[in-house]
């Protein structure tokens, strides 16, 4: 990793013992703060008011179809990779109201759902999900019809990203250029340096190297009790990111995979994957860029109706429903839609890739289908990888 001279100029050091000042600074600016927390044995994004609530010493073990947390007994505060939550939920809530309409003397009063957003800060977002947020912004806000709710929520969102020291076996950010370090896209970006080997151990060396990546981030950073970063701090970061980079497995070249997939639309491998795929849609739900939504009306006896927009998935048969029936009737066609959309057609539609290599779809697939491995195999020979766990 190259070290620009401006790097040191922009980086500050925050002692781990002072992390509460960050939470306080965010609260003082009206942000509700979400941070990693353990729920049901999984790292989720949960409301947090201070560093004491962070899952100290917790480390994740992720593999196709499996996720487990173990307590390492150490003092590392962010020693895990991504959980099932991502920033997607902040831009595009799983359920949102579109409008309410109430009967009104022979007519209807149509009230658009408010699009103002409360300020939310997320502490501990990973570089790949910051990249995913940029992708989602393109889709939801960058087109001819910007989603006003998403635009308002994006504006009200403050992201404190954590660069990764402990990637999971499912992480593929290096192949997509989305991690383990982060050069832009967050408000603040931090990396944890020298966490104590034992919880409650000497916190002396435990600190965060913090940089601002936006004016709002710079303003918050200026309010924190930081000190100047030294060349040694910068070296520690470089070494940690270097080790993480080496630990992350490479996946095949995304451009080669994209072309190969589109050249194998009717290959037999899709059927083979479909024989394992449960078509549950978990992959699309945990995907930080999947944006599909459906719109449904509900009305009550008084005649008041509520129109709701909610997440949907191309694994549902109804996703492609026409009067003549669903277009993508078979599981093979639905799996192919997901894989080709993420890895190939997204590029034409939105000018970016739809996959950031976060690995969530691999971990949370109940049968452990590895999208990257399957796509590489299909793109190469048209056959599936036969690496599934069932």
């Amino acid at each position: 990793m190259r070290l620009d001279p401006p790097f040191l100029a922009s980086a500050r050091v925050l002692a781990a013992g002072e992390l509460d000042t960050l939470f306080a600074a965010l609260a003082a600016r009206g942000y509700e703060t979400l941070a990693p927390g353990v729920r049901d044995g999984v790292i989720r994004l949960v409301p947090a008011s201070g560093a004491a609530e962070l899952p100290a010493g917790m480390h994740d073990r992720q593999a196709p179809g499996s996720y487990a947390l173990e307590d390492g007994g150490d003092g590392e505060l962010f020693g895990y990779a991504v959980g099932p939550d991502s920033l997607k939920g902040q831009l595009l809530p799983p359920h949102q109201s579109v409008l309410r309409a109430t009967p009104d003397e022979g007519g209807l009063r149509i009230e658009p759902a408010p699009t103002e957003a409360a300020r939310v800060a997320v502490v501990g977002a990973r570089p790949c999900e910051v990249a995913a947020t940029t992708v989602l912004e393109r889709v939801l806000i960058g087109g001819a019809y910007p989603d006003p709710g998403a635009a308002a929520r994006r504006k009200a969102l403050f992201v404190v990203a954590l660069e990764c020291r402990r990637p999971a076996t499912t992480c593929r950010c290096t192949s997509f250029g989305t991690g383990p370090g982060l050069e832009h896209g967050a408000d603040l970006v931090m990396i944890e340096l020298d966490p104590p080997p034992k919880r409650g151990g000497d916190p002396g060396a435990h600190r965060f190297l913090v940089r601002a990546q936006s004016p709002a981030g710079a303003e918050v950073l200026a309010a924190l009790p930081t000190s100047e970063a030294t060349r040694r701090d910068a070296d520690r970061r470089r070494d940690a990111l270097g080790a993480a980079t080496r630990a992350i497995a490479a996946s095949s070249n995304p451009e080669v995979v994209a072309r190969g997939l589109l050249g194998h639309i009717e290959a037999p491998g899709w059927e083979e994957i479909a024989s394992r795929c449960l078509s549950c849609g978990n992959c699309t739900m945990v995907c930080p860029t999947c944006f599909c939504t459906e719109v449904r009306d509900r009305s009550d006896l008084s005649g008041t109706l509520e129109r709701e927009r909610r997440w949907s998935s191309c694994f549902e048969v109804g996703h492609s429903l026409l009067t003549s029936g669903p277009v993508r009737r078979s599981v093979a066609a639905r799996y192919r839609q997901w894989a080709t959309h993420k890895l190939a057609t997204w590029q034409t539609q939105f000018g970016t890739t739809g996959c950031v290599g976060c690995g969530r779809c691999v971990t949370w697939c109940p049968v452990g289908i590895d999208l990257g491995a399957e796509a590489a195999a299909l793109a190469g020979t048209g056959a599936a990888s036969r690496r599934g766990t069932t």
């Binding site: 579109v98 019809y145 006003p148 944006f291 009305s299 429903l321 959309h341």
Partner: protein, 284 residues
């Protein structure tokens, strides 16, 4: 073809404007034409080939094409086949009833650059509705010396022939209209057979023809093949395609056809090899 225009800043893109049904015409047993007039604010005038998202409040929304070119009344016209909950509620709404309108969305037939050479319009079933506004414009142009216009209409049976008033008007303006049905009772004097069988006899000059095609996807594929076989350049064929649509604004992901988002890049698309491949691949 012209692209969809952007929404004014701050418009809640998924919230419809209130319109009232001002006229209703039953076309066939299951097809109804509605004229809708704005209660207060109106949507921007659309171009033939574009669609609106129509709300039957409490039931849901559906993508429905404009079935007439915009006129001075500010009303919008839609021709709807009753096939499910939303379309049923729309078809059975009566004058005075409220309907929500958002739009117009998507690409259009690009009629502005037509009417110099020949134009062939091929419609199957409800597919005539999205084409009607374009034929209106071309028929008017024909009346004042514009290019020749040929319309081939396919319907399941004689009772399913819709937009009869329009068909008569187009004939009167000098448009060559031919109708064929899949099956007819004894005594029916019109054509029986596939709409593609009408094409060789229409008398257009393939090399200077632009074709506009809308109908069921198989019908579109066979019609394009027949047109190209007759010598119409593939790039002179425009088709209107359909996928599930939940938003019309490139936000919901449901209208994908491979690399296309049909609410944004369609519904009207110029024929090319890539499109031909997409439509022959199974379950795209």
């Amino acid at each position: 073809m012209t692209n969809a225009s952007s929404a004014p800043a701050g418009t809640p893109v998924l919230v419809p404007l209130a319109y009232r049904v001002v006229a209703r015409r039953h076309e066939t047993a299951d097809v109804t034409t509605l004229r809708l007039s704005p209660v207060a604010d109106a949507v921007a005038p659309g171009r033939p080939g574009q669609f609106n998202m129509l709300s039957a409040f409490g039931v849901g929304e559906a993508a429905i094409s404009l079935s007439a070119a915009p006129d001075a009344t500010g009303e919008v016209q839609h021709t709807i086949r009753d096939v499910g909950p939303v379309s049923h509620a729309l078809c059975t709404s009566a004058p005075g009833d409220l309907v929500g309108v958002r739009g117009p969305f998507g690409t259009d037939w690009g009629v502005d650059d037509l009417g110099y050479g020949d134009t062939v319009v091929v419609a199957g079933g409800i597919g005539l509705a999205p084409l009607a506004g374009a034929i209106d414009v071309l028929a008017e142009r024909r009346r004042y010396g514009g290019g020749r216009v040929f319309v081939a209409v396919g319907a399941r049976n004689p009772d399913q022939v819709m937009l009869r008033a329009e068909l008569g008007r187009w004939l009167a303006a000098g448009v060559r209209v031919r109708v064929t049905v899949d099956a007819a009772p004894a005594g029916f004097t019109g054509g029986v057979g596939l709409v593609t069988q009408l094409l060789p006899g229409l008398g257009f000059d393939p090399a200077r023809t632009t074709a506009l095609v809308c109908g069921p996807e198989v019908m579109i594929r066979f019609s394009v093949r027949a047109l190209v076989d007759l010598g119409v350049p593939p790039g002179a064929v425009r088709v209107s395609l359909e996928r599930n649509m939940q938003c019309g604004t490139a936000l919901c992901g449901h209208c994908q056809l491979g690399p296309l988002l049909l609410c944004r890049d369609g519904p009207v698309v110029t024929w090319n090899d890539e499109l031909a491949t997409l439509l022959t691949e199974n379950e795209r």
